[in-house]
């Protein structure tokens, strides 16, 4: 293997590229992105609708369906037995064994993530028995413990409930319990609180934070909410139009944003604790990913755009330790 994992890394993605072959044309959903996740770390993947954040994480366990295709790249993952595999190249049986077991997902909409015909307990039992040879009865006992862990009241009764008998917040808790049932090394939470009310959102975020620490797992959190990012992530990747444009520790990103997109994005969110005279808005719209502009993808909306931005794509450079950005402002020509 050409590349290997460094100390403490769980996942290392290099040059991942995903395209969708639609009737309208080839959509460059994810264009050669690289990132890594360390053990016990909360990484946030931030961006607006259609920037490729969901596709990126789905590609990790090859959940990309027709007409999408993973074109390029590697995703090294350190398994429980410390074996390092490339998730994009291993045989299908291996990826099936990893998915839902060592890498688990929590999706945005808990209602569609749960099968309406099965009880909460069955969901958990199925997730476990698919990966380990254990008796369903034993798992069911474990399921009650898991439901207790995600703070579902009277778990002995809830385990027999069907999804429609639970509220939205409870459903998301049940989904989280299911995803934890195999004690994954990496949990991917894709907008886990977008459909929920703020008070429930606060509960779920608190829960994820506690569980992440307790299970010592790594967490990739996908979100567009910069408040949530500030609250729980250690490190952030900012995505724009299928590319990662900035990578930084959370505090650095908020207090010293480098990329013009990040700067504008941060100024366009109202902070209720501050008196704001005028919100900054980003002029224009996200470019189509069918024929993305050459050069920097943000240049049509960028206040600092120059000629070089239009012609050539900026590469990622490390401006400060652990703070990287892809922008010509910081590249010496």
């Amino acid at each position: 293997m050409a590349e290997s994992l460094q100390d403490g890394q769980v996942l290392k993605v290099r040059d991942l590229e995903v395209k969708f072959y639609t009737y309208a044309g080839v959509v460059n959903a994810v264009s050669r992105i690289s990132f890594e996740v360390y053990e016990g770390e909360v990484v946030a993947l931030v961006g607006e609708t259609g920037c490729g954040k969901t596709v990126t994480t789905r590609a990790l366990t090859r959940l990309i369906e027709h007409p999408g295709r993973i074109e390029n790249g590697s995703a090294l993952f350190k398994r429980r037995n410390n074996e390092v595999v490339d998730l994009l190249k291993v045989p299908e049986e291996v990826i099936r064994d990893i998915r839902g077991n060592e890498i688990a997902y929590v999706f945005q909409d808990p209602t569609s993530a749960l099968d309406p015909l099965y009880t909460v307990g069955t969901h958990i039992v199925e997730t476990v028995t698919n990966h380990r040879k254990v008796k369903a009865k034993e798992v069911l006992r474990d399921a009650i413990r898991l439901l207790k862990e995600v703070v579902i009241p009277s778990p002995e009764l809830r385990v027999k409930n069907y999804p429609h008998e639970l509220s939205g917040g409870m459903r998301q808790r049940a989904v989280i319990a299911t995803s934890l049932s195999n004690s994954p090394k990496l949990l991917i939470a894709d907008e886990p609180t977008t459909n929920l009310d703020v008070t429930i959102q606060a509960q779920i975020l608190e829960l994820l934070k506690n569980l992440q620490a307790k299970y010592k797992m790594s967490l990739i959190l996908i979100t567009h909410n910069l408040g949530i990012v500030a609250e729980i992530s250690d490190r952030v990747y900012i995505m724009y139009a299928g590319k990662i444009v900035e990578e930084a520790l959370t505090t650095d990103l908020y207090y010293k944003p480098l990329h013009p997109y990040t700067q504008l994005l941060l100024r366009s969110v109202p902070n209720p604790l501050k008196r704001i005279e005028k919100l900054e808005s980003i002029p224009g719209v996200v470019p189509s990913l069918i024929n993305p502009p050459p050069g920097c993808r943000f240049y049509p909306r960028c206040p600092y755009a120059t000629d070089v931005c239009r012609r050539e794509e900026p590469s990622m450079i490390e401006v400060e330790p652990r703070h990287r950005v892809a922008c010509w402002l910081y590249l010496k020509r």
Binding site: E48, D197, T199, L226, T250, S268, P270, R275, S281, P283
Partner: protein, 321 residues
């Protein structure tokens, strides 16, 4: 502040529950509030608290079960014929999702002309007028003969906003106008709404679950819980020192986009979930989730009491007697 443009008195909106003779959803229960000319009143609350029902009922899109809605002093529930038409012209709404609030089979021009025709507005050159109006909300004239599906989400919401203001109403109810949009577009729309308010002297009722957005937009804020207003007053005060335990919980739930602040602030992690509005708990509806519940809270409903001029709270912690 001047006289109220809109005054809601003891408004109740109940819905019958299908398959049951007696059960009713008390979506809005005994709500009274005033909206003054030129201000923005924000209404916040979790889903199912009745904020949308309240907004729609103000515009008579729902029939109130009882109570009064006074618009410039007239009870609009009793209006008929020409007077009712005039009220409809003066009070408009912008809905949450522009994908569904615009008719997919009508071009933008048709959508915008409909209110003008309905209210028999005479113009020399409709096309020229529409183009000028579209420019005022940041839409190019090239969109005039396009269909909604050819527009982006932000552009569609601009059309929906223009449709609401094209008759120059006095009051606009904005029901989550930016929650279907991305943050960068959301900021554009919020700024547009503020500009329009200044230029046309509009009064807004701004409904949203996003408290940061409501705070940015509103002069005063009403916090709703299970069909009731629990706190209403100046937005700055409400943020700095919320009084009702529910407001405290709601405000501390908002994630703050500032890592050092959000990690150091004292947080009240909310307990439980809002109960069903079909059988709300007796007494104060918040008492099962409230950290300060007293005996009186379980039996007697707290009245909305004025604790400071123009600032009201419905909680036994602040009510006297």
């Amino acid at each position: 502040m001047s006289s109220p443009l809109l005054e809601v008195l003891d408004l109740k909106v109940y819905f019958r529950v299908r398959g049951s003779l007696f059960a009713k959803v008390k979506a809005v229960d005994n709500v009274s509030l005033k909206v003054f000319k030129g201000e923005t009143l924000g209404i916040v609350g979790e889903s199912g608290c009745g904020k949308t029902t309240l907004g729609k009922t103000i515009l008579l899109l729902n029939k109130p079960t009882s109570g009064k809605i006074l618009f410039e002093g007239l009870d609009v529930v009793k209006l008929k014929g020409r007077k009712l038409l005039e009220f409809r012209r003066n009070a408009q709404m912008v809905f949450q999702d522009p994908h569904t609030s615009l008719n997919p089979r009508m071009t933008i021009a048709e959508t915008l002309l409909e209110p003008l025709r309905e209210h028999k507005v005479q113009l020399n050159d409709y096309e020229e007028y529409l183009i000028k109006e579209m420019e005022s909300v940041g839409l190019g004239s090239e969109h005039l003969y396009r269909y909604p599906h050819e527009l982006s989400g932000g552009q569609k919401q601009r059309v929906a906003i223009l449709r609401a203001i094209i008759l120059r109403p006095k009051l606009i109810v904005l029901d989550e106008p930016t929650s279907a949009l991305d943050v960068s577009v959301q900021a554009q729309i919020l700024e547009l709404l503020r500009d329009l308010q200044r230029n046309h002297n509009l009064t807004y009722v701004f409904i949203s679950h996003d408290i940061s957005v409501v705070k940015y937009m509103s002069n005063r804020i009403a916090v709703m819980y299970l069909g009731k207003i629990v706190e209403i007053g100046n937005s700055q005060k409400l943020y700095e020192k919320p009084l009702h335990p529910y407001s405290v919980m709601l405000l501390s739930s908002i994630p703050i986009p500032d890592p050092l602040v959000s990690r150091s602030r004292k947080k009240v992690i909310p307990q439980g979930e809002p109960p069903s509005p079909i059988n709300p708990p007796p007494g104060c509806r918040f008492h099962p989730r409230c950290p300060y519940t007293m005996d009186i809270c379980k039996t007697k409903e707290p009245p909305l009491t004025e604790v400071e001029p123009g600032y009201y709270v419905a909680c036994w912690l602040y009510a006297h007697g």
